[in-house]
Amino acid sequence: MSAISINLISGRTIQQGVAMEGGKEKDKYRKACGIIEMDNEDFKKLGVMKNTNVEVTSAYGSVVVKAIEATQGPHPGVAFIPMGPWANTVVSDETYSTGMPTFKGTPVTIEPAPDKQVLPTIKLMRYNCWGEEQ
């Protein structure tokens, strides 16, 4: 097991859309968005099984999500977290003075974190904002 560096993008998925409209505080939303989609090749490099929790870290923050195999692929070297609080914990807030953060194209490192949990929405928010206990 070792850390890998990868380019992170975020965006919509239909599961994210459905879960979002069904209630962001619900567990379904965590399951739809608290994930990172990676390619087989990248799984091999990382040396973990699919559906393992990983810690994603960028210059902007760090978050635990579940690594799953990309449903839409292949795209080695590019990982995808659906738009939502998990992605936003690590995406780049650099705007180049356009007002728009760089939601797509943040360099991140991924490390296995099988013992850490993917936080539910509200807990994640509170932890991120006020450092409340996990």
């Binding site: 560096s5 870290t57 210059a59 902007y60 923050g61 807030d93 180049y96 003075s97 360099p107």
Partner: protein, 334 residues
Amino acid sequence: MDTVTLTMKMQPELYMEAETISPDQFAAKSSEEIGALPVYMGNEHHTLSDFFDISGNPGKTAADTKIVVSGDLTKVKYIGMKMTGGEVEVLGSPDMYVGAWMAGGTIRVKGNVDSFCGMGMTGGELLIDGNAKNYLGAAYRGDWRGMQGGRIVVGGNAGSDLALFMRGGEIIVNGNVDVHVATHAEGGTVVIKGNAKSRVGGQMVKGDIYVLGEIERMMPSYKYIGDEEIQADGISGTYQVWIGDLGERHGKRKGETIYGKIYLKVKDTGKAAESVRAARKIRLSDDQKKQIKDAFAGKEPGVQEVRAFISDTFGIDIKPMQVSRFIDEMRRKE
């Protein structure tokens, strides 16, 4: 020339808009009148004297008025906006829009400036000793008339969108620049003495860009047409000449198509072509790493922040990806 000195005595709670700090506004006024000039903070109106100690007297006209501003100016916007003459000396690092739409006179900033400085400038000189952020000498949103005249000199680095929609005048950057240089330019000259990244001269119709360092990634819509012996801001040498942007429309003069031109300095080794694209990997020494760690101890710095620090302190530019990894490394070691 008569001088008025403004010394900041109170930090504004929010950001402050002070377009009244301009020789045109000060000229022929008493110091009471100057002190009563409005500054704005959010939806509140204040006066200059609420925030600054004011001494000295202005000249009769803008041209014979000098203003010296000092203090922590990081929350002061619009210094020297629309000025037409005289001098402004800024002893500090002001926020956005320094010298925006200026038409004449000189502004010298001893520190750094934020974004949108020299926007829509038509004349005069804007001299920045430190770094400038994004949209330096650019056009206001939607305007096809960016910088049209005058001169901007940056001692350090400049950010992205330098010289957007430039139509005339000259910008010299002694350090490096970020992405998008002279996009949509239809005239003017940009000299970059350090390195550039990508999107140099994108959508340029006309104008000249000189790069004395390297370009990390040349636009695929530029074409190399040969070498020339020329001078750029007094630095002579062999330069590769690239024309473009071939994706853009171009006018003709005397039957000949006029392109935008990028002049890329050929290194003393006689090589330049490889410098395009080839990103040289720079390693930080342990000592340098320690300095950076100390500088940001207990903070959560962004990539650009750390990168700027590295560039300022050690004079080297490393790729954001590398900086990002370094930050990760720092964090993991904590």
